[in-house]
Structure formats: structure tokens, C-alpha cells
Amino acid sequence: MKYDIILAGVGGQGILSIAYLLDHAAIARGLRFKQAEVHGMAQRGGAVYSHMRISDAPILSDLIPEGHADMILSVEPLEVQRYLNYLRPGGVVISNDEPVKNIADYPADGLVDAALMALPRAILVDAAGIASAAKMSKAQNMVMVGAATPFLPFQWAEFEPFVQRLFGAKGDHVVQANMTVLEAGWRVGAFAKELLDAGVSSALVGRFLARLQPMTLDPAAARGYAGVLEGVRAQAFLATEGARVACDTALLNTLSA
């Protein structure tokens, strides 16, 4: 069993806090891990990445070989593009959808998301929306950890002791609020995983998720939507704009009728 993850982002986004949680969860499970970080020059608002390897067997290389990564986990959507050569066939991309436009030639709106949606297995996460809905706008990285969890050998609740270590000094409510957004991220990731596994395209999953309230997502019910999303009613629903709706039996009935 092995999980090779490329963590990507922009200097200052704190990708090492994500690495911290994944590392410690791996160690707590008795797994081996290696994590190559980037320090120094690259941190001043430049592209940053980390190679994370988790395995039940000893790990040799600190770097992931090209074409071997099981996941690219990015806290910025453009950054994914720099590391696609590492992704293995069938690997998944999980990216925050919020751009960091600190360069003059940042691609035009829409292009970056469209390029990600063209990938066979990609999940764009509205981490900013989820985090600010919980009044935790700085906790976008926690959302991303949650979204990645369904693809890793962890349960989302396992992160609590390490979230406690990171934020415990700020009080219990801060720890709990971080766990809430982490769970919301997990719901998004797990729900999307079910749909992708059922053969729904990244683009369709993305459009569907964009209409749903994250905390109402029940991964166990996700497969029920796989068959109906191509239908006329679902397409009509996706074509409308408007507030996010609850993902419940009423919605499933509406879409499948």
C-alpha cells in the first residue's frame, strides 16, 4: 500500500500545515512516510511544492518519480499544471478553486478551471466558500485536507489530535471550528469520489457540487445521483444559477423524476 502525493501551492499559503496533519496521521497509524519540502528562496510568493510519500513498507526515494503520484493536492488551481507530469494514470487532482493572481500573466478567468475539468479525475473545491461559511476564512487548508482524506488511508476524525496540537493554544472552539471545515471538505471529497468512481466526468461533478451545500452531502447517497445527472431534469437544474441547495432525498426525487 502506498500513497504518493504532490502538495502544491504558492509561498505563504502554508502548505506545510497540510503536510503536518498528513505526516502525523500516517505515523499514528504506524505507516512510514517521507516528505521533501521546499524552503528558502521559493517561499517569497513563488511556486512551492512538497513530495509526500506514505506507505506500509520502507520508502526509498524522498522524491516521487514522474508518472507515479496518486494525487496532486493543490491549494491553488494554476499550480496543478506544473506537476501533472508526476501524476500516474488514474491519479486524482484535488484543488482549491481560488486563484492567487500575484503574477501579471495569470491566465484569463475560466481557463484554469476549464483546464482542470478536462482531466479525467479532478475535484475543484470551493475551500474559501466552505471556510468562510464557518467563519473560518483562514482555514482553507483544513478544507483541503478533508477533501483529500477519502483518497487516503485515514478517517477525517483522526486528524483531531493533530489539529489540537496546531490550534489548541487558541482554544477549544478554534479546534472544533477547524474540525468542522475539515469535515465539510471530507464530505465534498468523498461525495465527488463516489461520482467519479461511478464514471461521471470531472466537469459534471464540478458543476453539480457547485450547486450543493457542502454540509448536506452524504457520500453514501452519492451513487444515487450518478445515473440521473445526465438526465433532462438534472441538466435543467444545473443550468440554473442560484443559491446552493441541500443535497437530500427531495433533491434526488426532483432530479430523477
Partner: protein
């Protein structure tokens, strides 16, 4: 008692040194070595270890040598180019030898993630005729650091530990062992060894060369130099340090060829010969320069054997090794990997932080220089080196710490005018003072701008030695003409007035100094 800890390679070396009973840690910040010292610093008080950053690497090395004289153990850490600065002390300490164990951990940066070059410190160890250890992973980093102190005291020599960026900055779990107490105070009674007058140095240099067969014998039986057999003798492989991991990765741990894994120098020549005899072709995979490869090839090559490596292009000469490069060199198929799905992926280079005082300083300096056209400053090493890039276009050189001042002086000697140098407060303390003293004595027509942001920002906001009033006093003490010594707090709002102050100094045909003082925003964020 054995425990498992999550450690960066840097931290593994640090913990190994602590467990070996060091009494001191010395160093000057530099990526990728910084976290080694910082780890010791974090527990220095509890452990009773002296750990305060030094002004530069030479000072650090000499302080450690003093601790060794007193009979105690210490570790020195620096980045590879730091050893150029400490080289005088280092090479001579091979001749003096040591008393208390002394280990120099130097972090090389193949691929130049944050450095000016990718020099390979194994050459320095060979130059100084001292042993060198090179770990392949975090566990070896910890284990070797402990053993290095014993090796140092047994051979009475400084021991070099060479690590590289991908080990220094990679985290893994490490099993730790027992701890040794610190050495008791035991100053060297016979000072003959440390007094390198020529008559004495001749004796000591002879002694150093006489030690070489013992060092070679130690390398031959070292557990870090292992010759592993494999079923297929058509080819053999030599790897150093982390190259071992990439080779193992390429064959998923089952390497079909005999392999010599090198982790201790001087190079184990008998083992190299034994491997060569076994195989038809030898592939040398080195993280760093082709150090072993040059030695093995010699001038004439090895008769009847094909040698492959960096010198025949089987492995790229420049940059760091990767699993892919190693797999390719071994002739294994490598996946193409997915192409970007976006037509153009723009680069995202590092930039100065929003609100960084250097930004305003550059704007004001460029405005002051405008009458002379698009003049750039002789620059130095720090965050401000990023002033090379647009929109600043302010910095025009970056060579080595302190070079801004001396290069500006040389250009002024040649007749260039105006000549402006820019240096950070820490770099000034590291290597700038002597250059400025020289310029002042000659009244060389140049202006030095010292960008005092109150910290060693580039490497992570460590404590600087030359800031605020201390810096002012140092500059005054070097003898600058008080009429041509100005202090400004660069700010956009005062740009016109401050540019005028600077321009007057640029026009002046003598040595002038301007301190541009504004705190680093990252330092302020961290509460410094």
C-alpha cells in the same frame, strides 16, 4: 531508549550531535543548512549547549575550534558556499588536528534551489585530508552524526558530514538511541599542535599525511561503504549519499547488479577495485560533481571496462539527480507523464513580500539615479537580490557575501561614476565591514546603501548582529566622513526628499554611506 521521531535531515544530524554530547553548536544561516542549528537552538538552554548564531562561517568554525581546544564537542553547520568563507580555518584545522570532537556539517545544494552554485564539499574534505561522511537518509544522518564525533576524537581530526538539499529538507521517521554526556573541561596542555609556525606546521602536516592510511583503512571497513552483490555482473553501480535511494526506487528495492554504496571518505579504493573486477560496465551515479568518477577514470580510463556517468553524458552534468534521471541512466523505461492541460503555464517566481521596505528603497534609489540613466547597483545576497527583477531593475550583481562593496570600489577605481553598492544588514556584518573600511581609507568615490531591515530575512528572519544603533556605531567606527553618512527610512510618501539626499551622495566624489532602515514585515509578523 529507542524512540521514533519525525525529523528533517538537518534535524536528524542535530539530534545525533546532541546525543553525542555536544557542548556547542555554531553556524551562520544558509539554505539548506539553517534548520540544523535552529533545532539545537530550540533545546540549547535545556541541554546546556551554547548555541548563538555567529557573524559568519569563519567565525563559527573558529569558535568551534576553540571549544575543541578546551576538550569539548561541538558541531558547525553551514551551506556549501559558507565553507568557502570558513575554508582558511577549516583547511588549517586539518593540520592542527582537534582535541574535543569537531564535526562540520555542510549542506550542498545540487540543483541550486537557493544558491549561487552547486559546489561539492567532498572536494574540501579531500583537500583538507580529513574524513567525510555522507548519509543516504535521515536515519543515517542521525546515526552518522553520533559516530562522527567518535571518529573525530579517535583520528584527532575534524570530520565533515556532507548532506544535500533533498535530505536536509526532507522529513522522515528516525529511530533514536542513547545519549552520551558532554565531555568534561579538558584544555589542551601542549599547545604545540595549535601553533602553526612553519617549523611546527611541517611536523604536523607530515603527521596529517601519515594518518591517511588509517583513514583509508577505516573507509574500507566502514559500515557506510557497502559492496552488495547482484545476480547480473554485466554491470556494476557506484552510488553516493541519496543516489542510493533513487537506484533502489528504480528497481523497487531489488537491484539486479552489484552495487557499491559510498558513505565514507576517503573513497574505499579496495572496494571500488573489487567491484570493477566483477563487472564489465560501471555506472557511477553521483549526487554532486563527478568526484568518484574522475578518480576512477583517471587520465587513461579503466582498461577493458566501460565507465558511464556524468563525464560521458549518461547522467546530466548539472543539476540534482532525480528518480527519473537515475532510471534513464540505468536504461530503464520511464513514463512520459501527463502534459499540462493549459496551453501556457506562466512561471511564478519568488518576489519581495507586499509592504517590504526594500521595494520603496529601490524605487527611491532608482529615482535618485535617474539623471545618469538606467544605472544598477552592485548587489549582494539577501531578499534584496530580488531587486534584480522588474519592476525594480535596481540590482546588477550578486556574487558572494560582501562582494557588493568591494566590486563597487574596483569599478570606481576603474573610473565608473556614480557607483552604488547595496547590502543587507546581516551580509554587512558577515563580510561587508572590511570592504567598507578599505574604501573609506582610500576615500574611494562610491556610495554604500545598507538596507537595514533588522533581521536575516532571506533565510527565515534569524537574529542579525548589525542593526539599528549598533550598525550606526560600526559604520561611524570604520571612519566614514560624518557629512557623508545619512540615515533614511525609505518611504514612498517621502520619495522626492529622500531621492534628493541620495542623489547628493551619488554626486559626491568620495566614500559615502546611507542606511535605509525599515523593518522586515515577516519579522514583524513573527513578533520580532
Amino acid at each position: 531508549m529507542a524512540e521514533r521521531e519525525l525529523l528533517l535531515g538537518d534535524e536528524a544530524v542535530a539530534l545525533g550531535a546532541i546525543h553525542a554530547g555536544i557542548s556547542g553548536a555554531y553556524g551562520y544561516p544558509g539554505t539548506p543548512s539553517t534548520e540544523l542549528f535552529e533545532f539545537v537552538q530550540g533545546c540549547a538552554e535545556a541541554e546546556g549547549i551554547h548555541a548563538v548564531w555567529s557573524a559568519n562561517e569563519k567565525v563559527a568554525y573558529e569558535e568551534a575550534l576553540g571549544m575543541s581546544f578546551a576538550g569539548k564537542r561541538s558541531i558547525i553547520s553551514m551551506k556549501h558556499v559558507g565553507l568557502n568563507v570558513a575554508a582558511d580555518a577549516f583547511v588549517n584545522s586539518g593540520v592542527t588536528g582537534i582535541h574535543g570532537g569537531l564535526v562540520l556539517c555542510v549542506a550542498d545544494d545540487p540543483g541550486m534551489h537557493s544558491s549561487q552554485n552547486e559546489q561539492d564539499s567532498r572536494y574540501y574534505a579531500k583537500f583538507a585530508l580529513v574524513p567525510c561522511l555522507e548519509p543516504a537518509d535521515q536515519q543515517e544522518a542521525y546515526d552518522m552524526a553520533r559516530v562522527a564525533f567518535d571518529l573525530s576524537e579517535q583520528t584527532k581530526l575534524p570530520v565533515v558530514m556532507r548532506i544535500v538539499t533533498r535530505l536536509a529538507h526532507s522529513r522522515a521517521d528516525v529511530v533514536t538511541g542513547d545519549r552520551s554526556p558532554q565531555n568534561a573541561m579538558n584544555p589542551l596542555a601542549d599547545t604545540f599542535n595549535f601553533t602553526l609556525l612553519p617549523t611546527i606546521a611541517r611536523v604536523l602536516y607530515q603527521r596529517l599525511t601519515d594518518k591517511q592510511p588509517d583513514l583509508e583503512a577505516r573507509s574500507e571497513r566502514s559500515p557506510w561503504n557497502v559492496l552488495l552483490d547482484g545476480p547480473d555482473h554485466s554491470r556494476g553501480v557506484i552510488v553516493n549519499g541519496i543516489a542510493w535511494n533513487y537506484l533502489g526506487e528504480a528497481y523497487e528495492g531489488r537491484i539486479p547488479y552489484p552495487v557499491l554504496k559510498v558513505g565514507q571518505y576517503p573513497a574505499p579504493v579496495a572496494k571500488i577495485r573489487a567491484l570493477l573486477e566483477m563487472v564489465d560496465e560501471l555506472v557511477i551515479l553521483e549526487e554532486g560533481y563527478p568526484f568518484l568518477e574522475e578518480m576512477i577514470r583517471g587520465v587513461t580510463g579503466v582498461h577493458g571496462k566501460r565507465i558511464r556517468g556524468k563525464l560521458d553524458g549518461a547522467v546530466p552534468r548539472c543539476g540534482e539527480l532525480t528518480p527519473m534521471i537515475v532510471a534513464k541512466a540505468m536504461g530503464l523505461p520511464v513514463p512520459d507523464g501527463m502534459a499540462p492541460t493549459l496551453e501556457v503555464v506562466p512561471n511564478r517566481p519568488p518576489t519581495l513580500c507586499p509592504g517590504c521596505g526594500h521595494i520603496d528603497a529601490f524605487a527611491i534609489i532608482k529615482a535618485a539615479l535617474a539623471p545618469w540613466g538606467d544605472v544598477r547597483m552592485f548587489g549582494d545576497i539577501g531578499c534584496y537580490t530580488l531587486g534584480y527583477y522588474p519592476p525594480h531593475n535596481a540590482i546588477g550583481s550578486c556574487v558572494d557575501m560582501g562582494a557588493s562593496i568591494s566590486m563597487a570600489s574596483g569599478a570606481a577605481h576603474a573610473g565608473m561614476h556614480p557607483v552604488v553598492a547595496a547590502i543587507g544588514d546581516s551580509t554587512f556584518g558577515h563580510s561587508g565591514m572590511t570592504g567598507l573600511m578599505t574604501a573609506i581609507r582610500e576615500n574611494t568615490p562610491m556610495t554604500l546603501v545598507i538596507l537595514d531591515n533588522g533581521t536575516v530575512a532571506m533565510t527565515g528572519t534569524q537574529k542579525t548582529m548589525c542593526t539599528g544603533e549598533d550598525l550606526v556605531n560600526i559604520v561611524k567606527g570604520l571612519g566614514v566622513d560624518p557629512d557623508h553618512f545619512k540615515i533614511i527610512e525609505p518611504h514612498r510618501a517621502k520619495a522626492a526628499e529622500q531621492a534628493a539626499i541620495l542623489r547628493a551622495e551619488f554626486e559626491y566624489r568620495g566614500t559615502s554611506v546611507v542606511i535605509a532602515r525599515r523593518p522586515c514585515v515577516q519579522m514583524k509578523r513573527k513578533g520580532g
